[in-house]
Structure formats: structure tokens, C-alpha cells
């Protein structure tokens, strides 16, 4: 008798082990597993049959049935691992996937890219440089009084800059600021010295537009007020700041320039990047490119700002942000900046 149930156990085991080894896929293996090991599975029922076995055989039968169940489970598990591996191998061997299909096709909608304006980008970058060096960033009105735009800057009534041909005048006497310098005296009144600040923004000039002239453009004014400020300080500040802004070590050169609100006043040149100073067509063979006007703050301007020139001194400069953008991105026509044309803007 003992042989009879042993043979039956062996036969069942052999059949399921063989079936498991031949299961074609994981789904087949799963149903096979249910048939063999599920609640009503053949192997499960065999194990449960221990109750019908004579008591003296029960221990042996129980052990044998458990061994069979273990072997079938092992066979199924081995087959499962084999099939899973094969699936992974198959995926790994499959080269039919195209990962270069663009997002808009895969997502079913166009990927929309926004663009911030190059002037904003450059302005933010320059602001970050100045902020890192302790400069306040200030923002002043575009419609200005004649006082802040001219008088306070030592530009008296007879000065040509006050004439109609340079300035947009408003009905009622105010004007559109012709330079960000109009913030100088405002800043002196707003902050207790010593301080240093920049004020970027839109400025306006009454002039006909062409590829290199625009009636609306962007500037950035810099102002530093301290107890003692010399040309040597200005040179150091300009070299440091411009190196950070232009992202290279720049050599700067000061030469005389006339602006009523600074004394001495300078045109600041930077060494031409293209030729390194030896002269090329970009710098008209001079080796230098005119970049910005600057100078030591005129005592009259300090007075207009409520500061005593015997106590306080300063430097100031005006940087053309529009020009900086044009230089950096080789923009051929200044009018593109305010055109609102996405064909141009979407490059940035």
C-alpha cells in the first residue's frame, strides 16, 4: 500500500514539475500554479488527503506530500524566474523603441516654451552682479520732473539737452526721462550715505528711429556715495563690475568726456575683445570700444541731493542695457527689442 500512494505522489510531482518547466508564459504558469497549488489544486488536495491515510502511514505520507508540494513550488518558482528573466531579456533585446519621438507627439499636445525678454535676462544678470557687491537696486519713475532730469543734474536751462529735439515733453511741464541719471538725486534723498545703488530702466529720446537709433531704450545708472571717492576708485569699480558683466577680464581706459553732472567726466573704453587691442574693423582700428560714460559726481549734484560736497563724494556711470543686449547677441537692429515680434523673441 505504501508503495501505491508513494507512486501516486511521485507521478503527480513528475507531471507538475514537467508541466511547470514547459509553461509557455507567465500567465500559463499562473493558471498552472492555481491548478496545482490553489485551494482546489491537485497537489493541495493530495496534501489534504492525509486524513484518509491509515494512521500508521500518516506521518510518512504527510512528509512525502509536503516534499512533493515543495518540489512543485520550486519548479514553478524556477520556471517563473526563467520566464521573467526571458521577458527582461526580450525587452532588452527589443530595439524598436524610438526615444527621439518629440514630446508634443508623445503627449498629444504641443510643448509650449516661454521666453523672457533678452533685456530682462541681461538686466537680471547685471542686477545680480551688483547685488552681490552690495548695491541697492532701485526703480524710478519714467515720467519725471524737469528738476530731477535736468536741474538737479547741473544741466541748466540753456543746455542743448533741454531743447525740444532731445526730450519728450508732456503737456503740463513734465517730461519722459532722457536718462536713468534722473534717479541720482532721488537716491541721495532716499538713502543715508554711504551707499551704492543701480537704477535700471526705460528712457526716452525724441529722435527719429533707424537700425541704431530708437526713441525708447534701456539704461542702467550706477551711483556710489562715500566719504572719499577718487578716479582710482572709479577705475577699480568699473574694471571689477565690467569684468563680471562681460564675463571676461576687461582692460578699461578713461578719456575725457563732458557730462554736466560729473566732474571730471569720462568716456570709458574697454579693450576690443575681437582683436585684443591691436586694432580691427570692429573697433575702427583703435583697439578700444566706447562702452559707457562715467565720472565723479559733480558737487552741484551732491548739493541738489542734500549732501555736503565737503563731506561726501561719489562716482556715477550710465550703462546702455539695450546696447549690451545688442553686443551680446549680435542684434543688427535696435528696433527689434521693442517690436514684440515672437519670430525674434523666441530665440532667447
Amino acid at each position: 500500500m505504501a508503495v501505491a500512494w508513494q507512486d501516486e505522489l511521485d507521478a503527480v510531482r513528475d507531471r507538475w514539475v514537467a508541466a511547470a518547466a514547459q509553461a509557455p508564459d507567465l500567465a500559463g504558469l499562473r493558471s498552472l500554479e492555481v491548478e496545482a497549488l490553489g485551494k482546489q489544486g491537485e497537489v493541495t488536495l493530495l496534501v489534504r488527503k492525509v486524513g484518509s491515510i491509515p494512521p500508521e502511514d500518516r506521518r510518512a505520507y504527510g512528509a512525502a506530500a509536503a516534499a512533493v508540494k515543495g518540489q512543485v513550488e520550486q519548479a514553478i518558482e524556477a520556471r517563473r524566474q526563467g520566464l521573467e528573466r526571458a521577458e527582461v531579456e526580450a525587452e532588452l533585446a527589443d530595439n524598436s523603441f524610438d526615444e527621439t519621438v518629440p514630446a508634443h507627439a508623445a503627449l498629444g499636445r504641443a510643448a509650449r516654451l516661454g521666453h523672457s525678454h533678452p533685456l530682462s535676462q541681461v538686466q537680471a544678470e547685471v542686477e545680480a552682479v551688483f547685488t552681490s557687491m552690495g548695491f541697492h537696486v532701485l526703480d524710478y519713475p519714467e515720467v519725471e520732473s524737469e528738476f530731477d532730469n535736468f536741474e538737479a543734474l547741473n544741466i541748466p536751462a540753456w543746455h542743448p539737452a533741454r531743447e525740444m529735439q532731445d526730450t519728450f515733453w508732456l503737456e503740463g511741464g513734465h517730461l519722459l526721462r532722457t536718462h536713468t541719471s534722473s534717479g541720482q538725486v532721488r537716491a541721495m534723498h532716499a538713502f543715508r550715505p554711504p551707499f551704492r545703488a543701480i537704477f535700471p530702466g526705460k528712457v526716452y529720446r525724441y529722435e527719429a528711429t533707424d537700425a541704431s537709433h530708437e526713441h525708447t531704450f534701456h539704461q542702467l545708472e550706477g551711483l556710489l556715495i562715500d566719504r572719499h571717492v577718487s578716479v582710482g576708485h572709479l577705475l577699480d569699480s568699473m574694471r571689477t563690475l565690467l569684468s563680471a558683466i562681460l564675463k571676461r577680464d576687461v582692460e578699461v581706459r578713461l578719456r575725457p568726456g563732458y557730462f554736466p553732472f560729473v566732474e571730471p567726466g569720462f568716456e570709458l573704453d574697454v579693450q576690443c575683445q575681437l582683436c585684443g587691442g591691436s586694432g580691427c574693423s570692429a573697433c575702427k582700428q583703435s583697439g578700444w570700444l566706447e562702452l559707457l560714460p562715467c565720472g565723479l559726481v559733480h558737487p552741484q549734484v551732491l548739493r541738489a541731493g542734500g549732501l555736503n560736497p565737503a563731506e561726501w563724494q561719489g562716482w556715477a556711470f550710465g550703462l546702455g542695457l539695450s546696447r549690451l543686449v545688442m553686443m551680446r547677441y549680435q542684434v543688427p537692429d535696435v528696433r527689434l527689442l521693442l517690436s514684440g515680434d515672437l519670430r525674434w523673441l523666441s530665440q532667447f
Binding site: G114, S120, L138, P141, F195, H233, P260, E263, P299, G340
Partner: protein, 894 residues
């Protein structure tokens, strides 16, 4: 302003100085040199010839045959110059010579006659563009056949000085003033101007200066003149400085103007009527005929020179045609004067005559110079015109002659001057400072200890040198700025301030570009007339800042809203494509701008409703009392400088307009069609919904980026808020707003800080492209003034809660937000566990009946909800929703 190397070398020893190196040095020391030109070079081989025979050309009427004596030989050449005459000295160009003008002379034939060479005009030789006749070499002392370059001192180097860099330096508008700077720069002595002349006696004419605007009027009479062309050297000198030679007398005035910088005028003495000269303001209605033959009507702001009968010259600008020098002029009255700079400039601009003379006077010339120039002119004229003599004394009229202003003295200290440059006493000793200033003709009295009393020379005192800082510049530029060592400023470190609006702009820019995929534009601060008309802005002046001088009539007003220009930009981009997609149906364009708009404070007289609509909730600071808490709260949100600006605005007599920073968003989708007429396409509701949603999403994205609670969009037309509806007729400010499809953007406290709208159909139809467009505009400062969104870090709810959905019929005109808000309020009022009511979707049956599906989220924090509780919520929600859809109908109908 052109500087002649040869001319200044008369007074300064420039031997051994390289003319190109000089230009660089001058640029770094004095003023910018824009260009360097070699003049009169490359004329080797051109000979001086005498015309000894003139015969007609047998085959051509306009050509003649000239026989030219070249000393060793004679040649016959064909010549077309009308002024060819026997006995003339002319430049002869032999065959084989290539001229700088590009002409290569060949040994050829002209109309069948051999012509081995040519006679040259100024243009042929590249000396000017005058090819009307031959360059006359009459009077040149050299044997025939001499090289032209040997016979006439012709070669020069010309420097173009940037006029803008010498506007403050009247002394540099003459060659001699430039020579003075060069002498200091090269540390060489400056030769004096030769002004020695024998004057006559007696007044030249009866002169009276009747205005303080002419501080000095010098005048002399010269008799015994014979007008004739000037010698060739003088003519060429004038040519290369850009002045046309005319005759010896006129040339002498121009020559001395170029030399000294002081313009001169010579009247033909016969035409100074009544023997009188009056310098006075023009009388109303007076007319003067200027040298260019134009009649100029004058105004009392103009200054004239009048004779016994009327104006004969526009002072400082141009002489009169009646008294100009003619061929038969024998006697002249010389005028050398100083005029008020601003007066000359205003007159020159008013009549549109910017002359060499006005350009100089408007720089504020030194009155001392007038006298020097007069003497220099007399000296020059007598040299040019051997028979002439000065027939009067040199009369000196005007306030300046009566009482000279005191010499300006600047008291400073060598230490101060050095400290402003940042150089040490070793680098720049006291003695160097004194030497440098003296070289520039400053009077210096050095005191022991380094104190200085510096007397400013008159030619620098009119405009340029006032303060010690001006001396710093003199020293710095002559010392060489490149020699000054960099020094780091020692300013104390403080936290750097950035205004909240600027920080907000950066965050919004990042959110709208990176999250919403919109493009930032920067547009003009002006509204365009055409655009305004299309948007129905009929009354241009109302509540707007107007320009007195607009670039064009179309751009005469400052923008009060960002929307008009943004709408135009969306339209243009939908029309031409965005550079990636072709302009076709479905093309989406989304733009935003952060910028200022201009709201005149005088706009206060506008009706309240319009003003609210215009200003989008900006607190009316100007009319609120100072103690008003809203005003205080608003001000406290601004940075210190904005605060002072705003306070300044409010305090000033003539306040600046309010210039709030706005965020404007405009999004558009191109509709089908495109052919003319198809612009009237009506967008499908889903398209309109999508476009508006893009605008709202952009606004909310910006709001979230600033850490503010999302704004509510309250429908302006839902009847819940009648006081916010704009004035009855489509007014100018809101004319682009769709009266139904728009909403107010409100903060948590209910204050309106902006609006969002689809375009009014009339405006949409006026676009050049079939499109649905939505715009949103809000006030950045008002947005920043809203409280920050509450943030807390509570643990997630243990019991997840549940939700029920319901669908209710909804009447036309009812907005889902109103229903949601009302239902939630009702449920919470009834103590039901509802936490949110959300819109899921809306269904519109073919007949137009709408139904709304809502979801009610329920939660009790301590436990899970029972199904009985959920059913109670559902029942109550259904009742409430049905009631509110009915209420909405009733209210919007009333």
C-alpha cells in the same frame, strides 16, 4: 571740427611727433578724434605750368587747346575747363601719373587731337569736390615745371574732432586754442598769434549796443581794398577745413574764425545805411534777408545788427545779403563780437540755420577773444591786400568793454586735487601741478603747504572751469588717466536693498515663461492712435498724459493700460506666425508684459466708477487723508524710495502722474478663415473658454509665484456686484472689454486689483486676423499689498473623507463659481461636513439647456463618513444648487 596738423604746427613745435600716435594721445588727453585723414598726398609728378597759348578745338565747341609752358618743354593738351585763359598758372598732370582721385592720365587723343597730359581741377587732384574749373596757381612763386608739392605747401594731416566732446570747450573751436592744448600736452612753448597792426583814428561808424546780450562789439573800418581771389595756399587751407573760398576779404573773416574760434563779419561800408550800427533785439515783424537770399521774419527773442534803416544781419548766425562783400567793395566795416550763447542758439534753431558762426557762439565764447580776433583779422587782411589800410580806431563797445568781470579764482589744495585723482604726492608733486596748470595758462599762486589760488584764464571761464573738481580734470587728463592705479572703495558693507516689485517681477517672469509657456514682450510706452481707434478709444485726451512733441501724431499719448499694445502684439504675431508655427487656425500666442502705465493725478475729476475701472483698484492716495489706514498699509508695502516718490507725487504742486507697474497678459488663438470677411468668424465657446482660461491661469500662476492666495475671478455680469459694472456706454477705458465674458480679479478682501476679459466682439472684428483674444491686467503693487497665503505644516488627514457628485440644471447667465460658493456656504451653514464644492463639467444640450456637474468634498477629521451622512450632504447640495441656479436667473433678469 577739423584740426589741421600743419596749421597748429605754426605755433607749436611738432617735430618728431607721429601724427597717428598724436591722435591717440589727443583722444585720451583732450577730446575724441573720430578720424584721421591724409590730405593732399599722392600728388607727386604734378607740375606747375603756365598757359601760354589757348586755341579752339577744331572738332568740339566746348573743348579748347592749351599750350602749357613747363620750363624745359612745352606741351599742347585738350582742356574743357571754362575758366582756361592765357597767362594762367595751372597744375599740369603728365601722362603716367595716377592721381589720388583715381584718375590715371594717359598719353591719348581727345576728339582727334593728341593730348599728352591734362590740366587739373581741385576735384581731379582730390582736394575738394569742385570740378567747375581749374585749380588756379596764379601767384605761386616757382619756375614753370616745378613739382606742385614743391611749389605749394600742400600736404597735411586732418583730424576730425567729435563735436560732442568739445561742447563745453569754446576755446577748442579754433585752431589756436587746439594748439594751446597741444603745447601743454607736448610740454612745448606756444608761439603767440601775430596781432600787430597799425590802427587809424576815429570811430569806424556810429555804434551803439542796446542789449546786454551782446557783451562786446568790436568794430573797425578798412579802406583801400581790392577784392581778389586769395592765394592758392590760403584757398586750399580753407577748403580742407570745409569752407568755400570766395575772395580775400571774406576768406580772411573765415580764416580768422577758424584760427581763433571767434566768428567775424565784414559789411560793405557803402551799405551800412546812415553810418550807424545798432545791436538790439529784433522788433516784432522785422524781416532780414540773409546771405543765402532768404527772407527771415524775426521775433523779439532774436538779436540783430541794424543800420540806420533796419536789420542787416542776424547776430551771430548769418550776415545780411544787402551788405555782403562784392567784387567792387573797397571799404568794409569789420564786426568782431561776443553774443549771448543761448540767444544765438535759439535763433539759429528757430530759423533753421546752424552755421559755422552759430555753432561757435552757442558754446559761450570768451569776450576777450573778440578783440584778439579783430586785430588778427586786420593783420591778415593787410597781408592779403597790400593797398589796404585800417581807416579807424578799433572801436570796443558793449558792457564787457566798460567793465570786465573779475578774474575767477579757485582756491584749493594740492592734497585735495591729488586725493580726487587717487595719486600720491610722490607721483604728482606740487611742482608738477603748478607747472601743468601754468601750461594751460592758468594763473597759479602756490602757497607753502600746498594751498593754491588758481586764476582761471578768460577763455576757460565762460563755461568750463568753476570748481576745484574742474582743476582735477585738467590735472588728470594731462597726467594721464592710464597712470592712475585702481583702488578698491572702502565703503562699509550693508544689506543690499531690492524693491519688492522688482523681486516680484523676477518671480512672475519665471512663472509665466517656465510654467505657462508665455513670452515676455517689452512694448512702447505710447499708445498708437490707430490702435486706440480700433479699440474704440474715442476721446484721446481724457485722463491721459499727452506729449507736447510726439514722434508722430499717432503716438501722442502715454499708455494708461498695457492692454492696447499687447492686443496689437498678439494680433501681429497671429498674423505672421511666431517663428515656429505657420500662421494658421489653432495657432496660439501668449504674451505678457511687466511695465509702467501713466495715470495723471489730475484724472481725479473723472467719475468715480470710471476711475476705479481705470486704475484697477489702486488706492486713491491723493484724495485719502494721510491717516487713512489703507493708505498707510499701501505705503508700508513700498520700498523707501518708492514711498518717497509717492509722497513727493502727492505733495508737489504739479505732481507727477502715478506710474504703477502692471502685469498685462494677452493670449490669442487664431480662428479658421483668414480671407477678407472671414474675420467675423465667431469663436466656438470651447475656444473662448480655453483662451480665457489661459489668461486666468497666467494670472494665478503669477499670484502663486508671489506666495499670495489665488485671486477670485468674479463675473462682472453675474449681477452679484452691480456697483463694479463700468459706466453705461462703452467708455474709452473699457471699450475692449466683453461685457459678458469678463471678470474682476479680486483679492481675499474683495478688493479689485485687475480684470480679465475676452475682447468685445466689435474689437475682435476690427483685428486684422480672425482670432479669439483674452487680456488680463493687474496692478503689481496692489497684488503685493494682499496678505500672503496662509501656510501651515499640518499632518495629512487620517481619514480621507469622501465626495458626492451631483448634476443640476442651470439657467443661462449663471456662473458656476457663484453656484459653488453659494452651495458650500449653505452646506456649512447647515453644519454639514462639506469642505469644498468644485466644478466638474458643464453640459449644454442641443436645445441650449445647461446642466452643471459639481463635486462636494466631505470630511470629518476624527472618523470616516457614513453613507447616511453623505446622502444628507447630497440632498442638501442638490436643493441648494437648484435654488441658486434659480436665484441667479431671477437676479440677472431683474
Amino acid at each position: 571740427m577739423i584740426v589741421s596738423w600743419k596749421w597748429i604746427s605754426q605755433w607749436v613745435d611738432t617735430q618728431g611727433v607721429d601724427p597717428l600716435e598724436f591722435a591717440k594721445r589727443f583722444t585720451c588727453t583732450v577730446a575724441e578724434i573720430d578720424g584721421v585723414h591724409h590730405w593732399g598726398h599722392g600728388l607727386q609728378g604734378v607740375l606747375v605750368g603756365d598757359v601760354i597759348g589757348v586755341a579752339p578745338h577744331p572738332n568740339a565747341d566746348k573743348l579748347r587747346l592749351a599750350t602749357v609752358d613747363l620750363g624745359e618743354r612745352q606741351v599742347q593738351v585738350v582742356c574743357g575747363a571754362p575758366d582756361l585763359r592765357l597767362g594762367m598758372r595751372v597744375p599740369f598732370v603728365p601722362p603716367g601719373v595716377k592721381l589720388p582721385s583715381g584718375i590715371e592720365v594717359r598719353d591719348g587723343e581727345v576728339r582727334g587731337i593728341k593730348s599728352p597730359g591734362m590740366l587739373a581741377s581741385e576735384a581731379d587732384l582730390g582736394l575738394s569736390d569742385d570740378h567747375s574749373g581749374l585749380l588756379s596757381l596764379d601767384g605761386v612763386q616757382a619756375p614753370a615745371g616745378t613739382e606742385l608739392t614743391q611749389a605749394v605747401d600742400i600736404e597735411d594731416v586732418l583730424y576730425e574732432v567729435d563735436n560732442k566732446s568739445i561742447t563745453h570747450r569754446p576755446d577748442l573751436w579754433g585752431q589756436y586754442g587746439v594748439a594751446r592744448e597741444v603745447a601743454a600736452m607736448l610740454n612745448k612753448p606756444l608761439q603767440p598769434l601775430d596781432t600787430h597792426v597799425n590802427l587809424g583814428t576815429g570811430a569806424p561808424v556810429d555804434v551803439a549796443v542796446e542789449t546786454p546780450l551782446c557783451p562786446r562789439y568790436c568794430c573797425a573800418r578798412v579802406a583801400g581794398l581790392t577784392t581778389a581771389p586769395s592765394p592758392v595756399g590760403l584757398r586750399l587751407l580753407l577748403r580742407r577745413l570745409g569752407v568755400r573760398p570766395i575772395s580775400n576779404v571774406v576768406d580772411a573773416t573765415n580764416l580768422v574764425m577758424l584760427e581763433t574760434g571767434n566768428p567775424l563779419h565784414a559789411f560793405d561800408a557803402r551799405y551800412v545805411r546812415g553810418g550807424k550800427i545798432r545791436v538790439r533785439a529784433a522788433l516784432p515783424g522785422e524781416v532780414v534777408r540773409t546771405l543765402d537770399g532768404q527772407d527771415r521774419s524775426l521775433v523779439p527773442a532774436d538779436l540783430v545788427i541794424a543800420d540806420g534803416e533796419g536789420p542787416v544781419a542776424l547776430a551771430g548766425v548769418m550776415g545780411g545779403g544787402d551788405s555782403e562783400i562784392r567784387d567792387d567793395t573797397r571799404e568794409i566795416i569789420l564786426e568782431a563780437a561776443a553774443f549771448d550763447a543761448a540767444t544765438v542758439r535759439k535763433t539759429a534753431m528757430r530759423v533753421g540755420l546752424r552755421t559755422e558762426s552759430s555753432a561757435r557762439f552757442e558754446k559761450a565764447l570768451d569776450p576777450e577773444l573778440a578783440h584778439t580776433a579783430a586785430l588778427r583779422f586786420l593783420r591778415t587782411l593787410l597781408d592779403l591786400c597790400p593797398g589796404a589800410h585800417v581807416a579807424s580806431d578799433l572801436l570796443d563797445a558793449g558792457d564787457f568793454a566798460r567793465q570786465r568781470p573779475p578774474t575767477r579764482v579757485i582756491v584749493s589744495h594740492c592734497d585735495y586735487l591729488r586725493s580726487r585723482l587717487g595719486v600720491s604726492k610722490t607721483e604728482m608733486p606740487d611742482a608738477w601741478i603748478v607747472h601743468c596748470l601754468k601750461g594751460l595758462e592758468f594763473g597759479v599762486d602756490p602757497q607753502p603747504g600746498g594751498e593754491l589760488a588758481v586764476r582761471v584764464p578768460t577763455f576757460r571761464a565762460t563755461k568750463d572751469i568753476h570748481h576745484a573738481e574742474d582743476l582735477v580734470e585738467e590735472l588728470g587728463r594731462h597726467y594721464g588717466y592710464h597712470r592712475i592705479a585702481s583702488q578698491a572703495p572702502l565703503i562699509p558693507s550693508r544689506p543690499a536693498y531690492t524693491p519688492g516689485t522688482r523681486l516680484a517681477e523676477r518671480k512672475i517672469r519665471a512663472a509665466l515663461t517656465l510654467q505657462q509657456g508665455l513670452c515676455e514682450v517689452l512694448l512702447y510706452g505710447f499708445d498708437h492712435d490707430g490702435q486706440r481707434q480700433r479699440l474704440g478709444l474715442a476721446e484721446p485726451g481724457l485722463g491721459r498724459m499727452a506729449l507736447r512733441n510726439a514722434i508722430s501724431r499717432e503716438q501722442g499719448l502715454l499708455r494708461r493700460n498695457l492692454a492696447p499694445n499687447l492686443i496689437a502684439a498678439v494680433e501681429q504675431n497671429l498674423l505672421r506666425g511666431d517663428g515656429k508655427e505657420a500662421p494658421r487656425e489653432g495657432l496660439f500666442v501668449g504674451l505678457f508684459e511687466l511695465g509702467r502705465v501713466f495715470v495723471p493725478v489730475a484724472g481725479r475729476e473723472l467719475p468715480q466708477a470710471e476711475r476705479d475701472a481705470l486704475d484697477l483698484g489702486l488706492p486713491d492716495l491723493a484724495s485719502e487723508p494721510e491717516s487713512d489706514p489703507l493708505r498707510q498699509a499701501w505705503l508700508s508695502r513700498l520700498g523707501p524710495e518708492m514711498q518717497s516718490a509717492v509722497q513727493g507725487v502727492l505733495a508737489a504742486d504739479n505732481p507727477l502722474p502715478l506710474q504703477p507697474i502692471r502685469l498685462g497678459v494677452a493670449v490669442g488663438e487664431r480662428l479658421g478663415g483668414g480671407a477678407e470677411g472671414a474675420k467675423r468668424t465667431r469663436p466656438q465657446k470651447a475656444v473662448s473658454q480655453r483662451v480665457l482660461a489661459e489668461a486666468v491661469a497666467a494670472v494665478q500662476s503669477a499670484v502663486r509665484a508671489l506666495g499670495k492666495a489665488e485671486l477670485t475671478v468674479s463675473a462682472a455680469a453675474d449681477g452679484t456686484d452691480p456697483e463694479q459694472l463700468p459706466a453705461a456706454a462703452p467708455d474709452w477705458a473699457t471699450s475692449w472689454r466683453h461685457p459678458q465674458r469678463c471678470g474682476w480679479l479680486r483679492g481675499a478682501d474683495g478688493a479689485v486689483i485687475g480684470h480679465v476679459t475676452l475682447l468685445h466682439p466689435d474689437v475682435r472684428h476690427a483685428l486684422d486676423v480672425p482670432a479669439e483674444v483674452a487680456v488680463a491686467e493687474l496692478n503689481l503693487e496692489a497684488l503685493l499689498a494682499l496678505p500672503d497665503a496662509a501656510v501651515s505644516g499640518q499632518a495629512p488627514a487620517r481619514h480621507p473623507g469622501a465626495s458626492v457628485d451631483l448634476t443640476v440644471p442651470v439657467a443661462a447667465g449663471v456662473r458656476q463659481a457663484a453656484v459653488c460658493t453659494a452651495v458650500l456656504a449653505d452646506l456649512q451653514a447647515a453644519n454639514l461636513p462639506a469642505v469644498a464644492v468644485r466644478y466638474l463639467y458643464e453640459y449644454e444640450a442641443p436645445g441650449g439647456a445647461r446642466s452643471l456637474t459639481l463635486r462636494v468634498d466631505c470630511r470629518i477629521s476624527e472618523r470616516s463618513l457614513t453613507s447616511a451622512e453623505l446622502e444628507a450632504v447630497l440632498a442638501a447640495a442638490r436643493l441648494s444648487a437648484e435654488r441658486h441656479s434659480w436665484e441667479g436667473t431671477r437676479r440677472s433678469a431683474s
